[in-house]
């Protein structure tokens, strides 16, 4: 089982990440990936750029803990997260999550679980900068609700 977490300012290539995910073997039947992009607007506010801050050390460890939980729960064969920090612009890639498993059910569940927990537990903070000035993005109650679907075992 191969788990990988990277927090970086540089952009990433989803194709290369998917190839790395599969580098370990040929047992995989299914790969599910998620790529998040900076939208042009959020709740009617125009976004010129996004500034992403994180808590170095804690970020990597908390994401790895999430991946370990997902791997144990669904028998994942490989999983990888890349999350960017720093200044990002509209259309830029922010985050990539890839999960390889023998069957699609496991791959879909583990990928969505990981995204839900990235949104609720990993110490990242987004600030939007636009014509109306700076705006720290508020945490969405909906994200906490979605994360709670997966049960208390994930706390």
């Amino acid at each position: 089982m191969s788990l990988s977490v990277k927090v970086q300012e540089a952009d990433f290539d989803p194709a290369e990440l998917q190839r790395s995910l599969l580098a370990g073997g040929q047992a995989e039947g299914a790969v599910v990936t998620f790529t998040g992009y900076v939208r042009a607007s959020n709740e009617q506010r125009t976004i010129e750029r996004m500034e992403l801050e994180h808590y170095p050390g804690m970020t990597e460890n908390s994401i790895l803990a999430i991946l370990q939980q997902a791997a144990e729960r669904w028998g994942v064969l490989a999983a990888s997260v890349v999350h960017r920090v720093g200044v990002l612009r509209t259309g830029d890639q922010i985050v990539w999550v890839g999960v390889a498993a023998a069957h699609r059910e496991a791959a879909f569940s583990a990928c969505e679980f990981t995204m839900d927990y990235l949104k609720t537990r990993a110490p990242f903070w987004k600030k939007e900068v636009g014509p109306q000035g700076d705006h720290w993005v508020e945490h969405r109650a909906q994200d906490t609700e979605r994360a709670q679907r997966w049960g208390r075992s994930s706390e």
Binding site: H54, Y55, M58, V95, K119, P123, F124, W125, W136
Partner: protein, 84 residues
Amino acid sequence: MIKVLFFARIREELDCRQLDLPWGNDLVDLDALSGRLCREHGEHWEKVLGQQNIIRAVNQKVVTGNTALADGDEVAFFPPVTGG
């Protein structure tokens, strides 16, 4: 020594990224640490650190409620996370 970190909106509101506090009896737990920061820095800090949804972490683990501290610990205050 206790290393205290502030992130994102909290960091901006306090205009402070990091404080290093010499270890002492007034730092035995998180509530004692918060109390000392508010006494030293006044009403504005009291308001910011008293916000209901503030998250506290000790040695890079989120904690709920009061938690004992030891010399060398790292404490962080931050708002709800918004990554992904």
